[in-house]
């Protein structure tokens, strides 16, 4: 076991101060809804000697969820993949291609059966026996059947693998469905859903850290979303909430009300029916989130939001 001091020395060699690292741990701890006293434990969990093996399967997706992971800043992505987890398969950033890439996946699944974390991005097309989505000449459905039941747990990243997403929107030309619907009873392993289009990477990091820290997955809501991230509506955490209470609404994007940051309810905001922590954690190192940019929430972490929340500019 590496010692804590040794770990900090190494971090400092990489240009990360102990203070920065603890700041990161505090951020993650807070995002997970844990008390600040647990921050040192989070730090310890990240010093584990063997990095847990993780594979990332990309199915009917747009790579937005993978890109979102690259935007993590607590920790930075290089720290995540070099120091915290062992990302053994990820088509967007892995060096290997073709057969060598497939071999890397097969090796991890075999060596760490029942112990690796499987992250699934994208829906699974079921049309023509799954032939509308192929990787390495195999239908995505077949790959999911081979890999997911052998994982310790499956994390559905994004609304597509969680609920079907954009490909599943009516009329669903490719017969795209969520991981759970595609595999049914064959998927015997636990599932956590981190929906969003794409989700905030801190919610994925928080879920992984929860696992490293407590050896189990976080507490979930009835849709299997972690409560630390999806426990409250966007509306309940919205900094514009007082304008809603005062009846101060934006009626046009070209108006003083829009410039004053009034409530976007009448412009179609779906915040009241959307469970997510966007207003409190914000995106891209806390830079902003859609409502701050003056655009209504589109409800992107809710099941079937492409059909149920649209037309997007029509109020609830």
């Amino acid at each position: 076991m590496r010692t804590k001091d040794f770990f900090y020395e190494e971090l400092e060699e990489q240009g990360v101060s102990r203070r920065d690292f603890l700041k990161f741990c505090t951020m993650v701890t807070a995002a997970m809804g844990l008390g600040p006293s647990l921050a040192p434990k989070v730090a310890e969990a990240l010093v584990a000697q063997n990095r847990p093996p993780v594979v990332w399967l990309a199915f009917s997706e747009c790579t937005g969820c993978a890109e979102s992971l690259l935007r993590t800043s607590y920790p930075w992505i290089d720290q995540l993949v070099l120091d915290i987890i062992s990302l053994d398969y990820h088509e967007t950033i892995m060096a290997a291609a073709g057969t060598q890439a497939e071999d890397a996946l097969a090796a991890t699944v075999k060596k760490h059966e029942g112990k690796f974390i499987c992250i699934v991005d994208g829906a699974i097309p079921m049309a023509d026996g799954g032939a509308w989505g192929m990787v390495g000449g195999k239908p995505m459905l077949e790959i999911a059947k081979e890999v997911c039941p052998k994982a310790l747990a499956n994390i559905c990243i994004g609304t597509c693998s969680s609920f079907g997403g954009v490909a599943h929107a009516a009329p669903n030309p490719s017969g795209a469905v969520s991981l759970e619907e595609a595999l049914g009873d064959a998927l015997k392993t636990p599932v956590v859903k981190i929906p969003g289009c794409p989700p905030n990477p801190i919610n994925l990091v928080g879920t992984v850290v929860n696992f490293l820290l407590f050896g189990k997955l976080p507490e979930l809501d009835s849709l299997k979303r972690p409560l630390f991230a999806y426990g409250q509506t966007v509306h309940d955490q919205c900094p514009r909430r007082s304008h809603f209470e005062n009846g101060e609404f934006v009626e046009s994007f070209d108006s003083d009300e829009a410039r004053q940051g009034y409530c976007l309810y009448n412009m179609g905001c779906k915040g009241p029916e959307t469970y997510n922590n966007c207003p409190s954690v914000r995106f891209n190192d806390r830079q902003s989130w859609p409502v701050q940019a003056g655009h209504p929430c589109i409800g992107c972490s809710e099941p079937d939001f492409w059909d149920k929340m649209s037309p997007f500019y029509k109020s609830l």
Binding site: R51, S73, T92, A97, G98, M134, D254, D285, H295
Partner: protein, 546 residues
């Protein structure tokens, strides 16, 4: 002896791509490009509110995360006949510029560099020599002996852990890797640095767009970021833009020159023939006259004869794609009727259609933009191109190659970064004058049609909409990667990537590193793997590396 090599999945790209090549006497003789995922966005859009289209089309791609949103609002702006206010145009340009800076940095370092850079070799580098090389080629900070020693130590520890993660099964030690260990270490250090820089650069999108990926501040008629048009936010934007520009000037461009110097033979490999660009970054509401990057077409490499673009000459062929029929239709009349059959490169082998201009395959993207701007005498482009060619001691013809494509991408990154300063200044001037308008109201017509022509990191992008009863009756996207990476057309002419691959050397068919170089130089937005098939027995060899 002739061998078939199949790479599926092609990794370090967006999406799902399969490349098959026929190799004879150590060179590629024939090539086929297949896209292996169909989602049917165009079908999903039918019957919906035209104002919602951009949110759907944006999900065409999370890497080019902004561009399909932009293309869509522009095509609906055109259909509802609204002219957006100057500030909305500037913010859309700044967001598109930010997309280029982010996208090209990630492409060079994280999607393309490992085709040229052997990470394992970096462990053998003399760190003092690496620091000398770095200091000779650039002004970049963090380039001391101790900096490179720290990176080398970190990589060594990582390799010694036995858990190679994202670096597992790379083609390490392949004879086509030509960089000395010291340059490999330099590039590896910058690979890691760029992983952080790209997350910083993406914050440019968050400032005026709410988040990245999938910016959420566009609307038909303008943009929505009204409360972000203040001094503090603009200063933050400018600070992050300056930081990114420093990275481009001091790290990205010097690295491209340093790496290219060891791969000059790749200036003769991977070229194509015809080029097309729609142009982008409107400087006023006049198009195409005011476009910063000009619109134009080049046939047979005649860069001194840039032709105007006639959109009515674009058609999409489906003879070799998994759709009904075998004809060709203009995008505004386009149909999407999927009909999957088993992949067969002799008949139908891709979910992509094959777009053609005047019946010819056209390369789109950074090289097309740079060649056409160069041919039109675009000052910043001319200066950049001539400077690079001089540094490498290469003729203009060297641009028609894999190396030329990769270099053009780096050059335009700098050209756009420099131009963004002017757009920030214009925005500030408007606000100073009290003009904070970013949205123009409009009426949704009962029926109408519109087109949105754009030039985005991967090339010419067009969206077409047809509105009936205030709903989407038809929607078609013709995207850069279908131009570059589609299949053969109705006349059996090869797509640009298929043409570019012919003649590519393949030292070891079981480890087709050289094929990846040319495929990745197009920055495919689609993913792939390699199997070797013997045409006599049709047997797919599974091979192991290292």
């Amino acid at each position: 002896m002739t061998q078939r090599v199949v790479i599926d999945p092609i990794t370090r790209i967006e999406g799902h791509l399969r490349i098959e090549v026929e190799v004879a006497n150590g060179k590629v003789k024939n090539a086929w490009s297949s896209s292996t995922l169909f989602r049917g966005l165009e079908l999903i859009l039918q019957g919906r509110d035209p104002r919602d289209a951009w949110l759907f089309t944006q999900r065409a791609c999370g890497v080019c995360t902004y561009v399909h949103g932009l293309a869509s609002v522009r095509c609906v702006d055109d259909a509802v006949k609204v002219t957006i206010p100057p500030n909305a145009r500037l913010i859309r340009n700044l967001l598109l510029g930010s997309q280029f800076l982010h996208d090209h940095i990630v492409h060079f370092y994280h999607l393309h560099a490992l085709d040229w850079v052997d990470i394992v070799s970096a462990l053998k580098a003399d760190v003092k020599k690496t620091a000398d090389i770095a200091n000779k080629t650039s002004q970049a900070p963090n380039s001391g002996v101790s900096d490179f020693a720290a990176v080398q130590g970190r990589l060594k520890k990582f390799v010694d852990s036995g858990q190679l993660g994202i670096f597992s099964n790379g083609y390490w030690g392949h004879p086509a890797y030509k960089l000395p260990p010291e340059v490999n270490l330099l590039a590896a250090a910058h690979y890691l640095q760029a992983l952080r820089q790209q997350a910083r650069t993406a914050q440019l999108h968050a400032i005026f767009g709410g988040k990245n990926p999938h910016v959420q501040s566009l609307v038909v008629g303008g943009v929505t970021c009204a409360t972000d048009l203040n001094a503090a936010r603009i200063a933050e934007f400018k600070y992050l833009w300056e930081e990114t520009k420093q990275f481009i000037d001091n790290v990205y461009l010097p690295d491209v020159v340093a790496v290219a110097g060891f791969y000059k033979d790749w200036a003769k490999i991977g070229g194509t023939t015809n080029f097309l660009t729609y142009g982008d970054f409107p400087q006023s509401d006049k198009e195409p006259e005011s476009l910063f990057f000009p619109r134009g077409a080049v046939f047979k490499r005649a860069v001194n004869q840039i032709q105007d673009v006639d959109i009515s000459q674009i058609s999409e062929h489906v003879k070799h794609s998994w759709y009904e029929g075998d004809g060709a239709l203009p995008p505004s009349k386009g149909e999407t009727k999927p009909k999957y059959e088993k992949l067969n490169v002799e008949t139908r082998y891709s979910w992509m259609k094959a777009p053609r201009y005047k019946d010819e395959p056209m390369e789109v993207g950074p090289l097309a933009r740079v060649l056409i701007a160069y041919g039109k005498g675009h000052e910043a482009t001319k200066k950049s191109v001539d400077g690079l060619l001089k540094a490498l001691g290469a003729p203009v013809d060297a641009l028609f190659s894999t190396l030329g494509r990769t270099a053009a991408r780096a050059l335009e990154t700098k050209i756009i970064a420099d131009a963004m300063e002017g757009w920030i200044g214009e925005l500030v001037e408007n606000l100073k004058k009290g003009d904070s308008k970013i949205y123009q109201t409009y009426e949704m017509p009962e029926s109408g049609a519109g087109a949105g022509l754009n030039d985005v990191p991967r090339g010419a992008l067009g969206h077409w909409i047809d509105i009936k009863d205030k709903k989407i009756a038809n929607y078609q996207l013709v995207v850069p990667s279908t131009w570059n990476l589609g299949p053969r057309c109705g006349k059996d002419k090869l797509s640009p990537v298929e043409e570019a691959l012919i003649g590519t050397p393949v030292a070891d068919p079981k480890r087709p590193l050289e094929v990846l170089r040319t495929v990745h130089s197009f920055d495919p937005c689609i993913a792939c793997g390699v199997h070797v098939i013997d045409p006599q027995t049709n047997e797919v060899y599974k091979f192991k590396v290292l």
